[in-house]
């Protein structure tokens, strides 16, 4: 039974009834379907594939898209879904983020009508799974340097290159692959896993996001029909626009992981007795709990504000960088503190905080590292691009 309300600022009052219903629905789903099984998957290093259909049936995939069988929710409701999913596990949230923000979004934004009609309804129902191939072994923070090439040959494009650290790579039916053309522009392709010259390999030995599928795409004279090229891309700007979508969801998601760690730490502090008192009676523990609550409240307000601006079409990538950078960094800090408060128990899979902590070590790296977002904001402030 909860005897204090972590929503100290009544942020709930800033949400509409349907936004709350959406959040509570995903909350219940995660409690019932994700939490009981996620530790086992994490230990075994497997993605809980059986949840894919359930997540799709809920309408979570592409939930902020209108039409094509999608729920057509606003961005705040979508963000709340990401928060609740990541309360369960960053890996489960990553699956949904990639499918929605990095696969469905680019098809919606840069695809032809035929591509939208062919792929979006099936992606929403999870009849097909997608992945997003931007990062390469030698080009992470600097995707502009990518080596993957596309060359037009008759009615086909021939792709060559390697994409690494790709979420869903091994389970994907299609990959959105970004490659450089002969004019030095970046093009986007919908690549079918059955294409000649396409291979996906799982990266097994991870210490983070263990309940998520991460892999490599190897493209060796990979043949892609012309009609699978995304017609309306604008070079590197387009994959970066996709990242802005996914980063927005991550800013919410990180607070979900933080909330789960916080609630676990509070519970533990009240029940764990040392020196004849619950450890929550010690000032140093209280100080840590207070820090967590402060940062969660601030992070949630930040995500909510960006969400409202996104819904009003007044948002930009710098705001999203601010929210992603702050919220992931604070969530990671909170997870580390929770781990500490739980003492030796905190290192086991019986508790959630260390799993969240290890996961967030990936979340702080992907979708623009902490440093990269710092430099985006540095550029926003000074007008000087530190990347050049």
């Amino acid at each position: 039974m909860k005897d204090f309300d972590p929503d100290i600022l009544k942020i709930d009052d800033l949400l509409t009834d349907d936004e709350k219903m959406v959040r509570d629905t995903i909350h219940q789903f995660v409690n019932k379907r994700v939490k009981p099984i996620i530790g086992k998957h994490y230990m075994e290093g497997t993605f809980p594939k059986h949840l894919i259909k359930e997540i799709a049936d809920l309408g979570l995939l592409g939930a902020n898209i209108s039409g094509y069988g999608c729920a057509g929710m606003n961005n705040v409701a979508y963000g709340l879904c990401m928060q609740e999913l990541e309360r369960g596990d960053s890996g489960v949230r990553s699956f949904a983020s990639v499918q929605s923000g990095l696969v469905m979004y680019p098809i919606l934004a840069f695809g032809s009508d035929k591509q939208k009609e062919t792929y979006l309804p099936r992606l929403a129902k999870a009849e097909i799974i997608g992945c997003f191939g931007l990062t390469e072994p030698d080009f992470g923070s600097n995707p502009a340097g990518m080596l993957t090439k596309c060359v037009k040959k008759g009615s086909k494009y021939i792709l060559n290159g390697t994409k690494r650290w790709i979420t869903n790579a091994d389970i994907a039916d299609i990959a959105i692959v970004w490659a450089r053309n002969e004019k030095n522009e970046i093009e986007g392709f919908i690549v079918d896993k059955k294409s000649k010259g396409y291979e996906a390999r799982e990266i097994k030995e991870k210490l983070s996001l263990r309940a998520s599928d991460t892999g490599e795409l190897i493209l060796e004279d990979c043949e892609v029909p012309e009609e699978n090229k995304l017609p309306f891309t604008q070079s590197l700007k387009s994959p970066l626009m996709c990242l802005t979508q996914a980063r927005y969801g991550i800013a919410w998601g990180a607070m979900g992981a933080a909330l789960d760690c916080f609630e676990e730490a509070v519970q533990y502090s009240k029940t764990r007795v040392q020196f004849d008192k619950p450890i929550g009676a010690f000032q140093m523990i209280q100080e840590k709990l207070v820090y967590m609550l402060e940062e969660i409240v601030k992070g949630q307000l930040l995500a909510l504000r960006v969400g409202r601006l996104k819904d009003e079409n007044k948002y930009n990538h710098a705001m999203v960088s601010l929210a992603k950078k702050n919220n992931v960094f604070q969530a990671l800090t909170i997870a580390r503190i929770a781990r500490d408060i739980l003492g030796a128990s905190g290192i086991t899979i019986e508790y959630n905080c260390m799993r969240h902590m290890c996961n967030l070590e990936s979340v702080i790296t992907y979708e623009g590292t902490h440093n990269v977002h710092t430099l985006v904001l540095g550029n926003y402030i000074t007008g000087i691009d530190a990347f050049k």
């Binding site: 039974m1 909860k2 005897d3 009834d17 349907d18 219903m21 959406v22 629905t25 219940q28 789903f29 049936d57 809920l58 309408g59 979570l60 939930a63 069988g69 999608c70 729920a71 057509g72 929710m73 409701a77 879904c81």
Partner: protein
């Protein structure tokens, strides 16, 4: 097939209930949910509709005209909802009368209820509604099979099951085990948002019961550690048998 489901808003089972200072009731600023047994009824209605076609209507009587549980029903897939405003301090008969008066104005094959509301646990409304409608009813049902216009319902009885057959129109009250209620889908929530929920001011009946007070249960006695390790098992079993009398 036309199905009516009657649903009630009840306090969340995990919410902390506080009695009002004047003891006239409980504080209202708590979490409320769709009565879990009614949720089974909604799920069953939706399943029957998916199989046999038709239309599902949810009706709720709510003293504060709060439509949150009806929104949830719509989000789960119910076609239309109707809110009856009123019913404070009504006894089961008055509630049943108001519901039956509403249902009589509608066409229906089947009326579904939860077997009880988890707040005041009266178990009476479904059977009273059936009586007022003058239709057969089966209560505490764990399985429903429809064949044309006949219904086969399995009900729980002490130590076993009873299988009953009846014809439409009829009333059924639902018991746990009947089904696993679905989550509202996000699309359902968005669609529900667009639907109007008409509110009907109902004829006010005289308050049939006067609530003279509420008392919170006395606090539970604190737990006790009997001992540690396997040595404590014997004592624990003894206490469970002799003191707690649960074994």
């Amino acid at each position: 097939m036309k199905i009516i489901v009657c649903v009630k808003r009840t306090p969340d089972t995990t919410t902390q209930i506080r009695v009002k200072p004047d003891k006239s009731g409980i504080e209202q600023d708590i979490e409320w949910i769709l009565n879990p047994y009614d949720e089974l009824a909604v799920e069953e209605a939706l399943k029957l509709k998916e199989k046999n076609g038709g239309i599902v209507t949810a009706i709720s009587l709510d003293p504060d005209a709060n439509n949150s549980v009806l929104r949830r029903c719509l989000a789960m897939g119910v076609d239309e909802a109707c809110l009856l405003k009123g019913g404070k301090n009504y006894d089961s008969y008055s509630v049943a009368k108001l519901l039956a008066d509403e249902i009589k104005q509608r066409e229906y094959n089947l009326v579904l209820f939860g077997k009880q509301a988890i707040d005041d646990d009266n178990y009476q409304v479904p059977s009273m509604v059936a009586t007022l409608l003058d239709v057969p009813w089966v209560s505490v049902v764990t399985k429903v099979e429809v064949n044309g216009d006949s219904v086969c319902a399995t009900r729980q009885i002490e130590g076993g099951e009873e299988i009953m057959e009846t014809k439409f129109p009829c009333v059924i009250s639902c018991q746990r085990g009947l089904n696993e209620p679905r989550y509202p889908s996000l699309k359902g929530i968005m669609l529900a948002k667009k639907k109007e929920i008409p509110v009907k001011e109902i004829a006010s009946l005289p308050e049939s019961v006067a609530v003279t007070g509420h008392e919170a249960p006395s606090p539970r006695p604190p737990g006790r550690i009997v001992g540690e390790g396997s040595g404590a098992v014997k004592e624990l079993v003894r206490l469970l048998k002799e003191e707690a009398k649960v074994l």
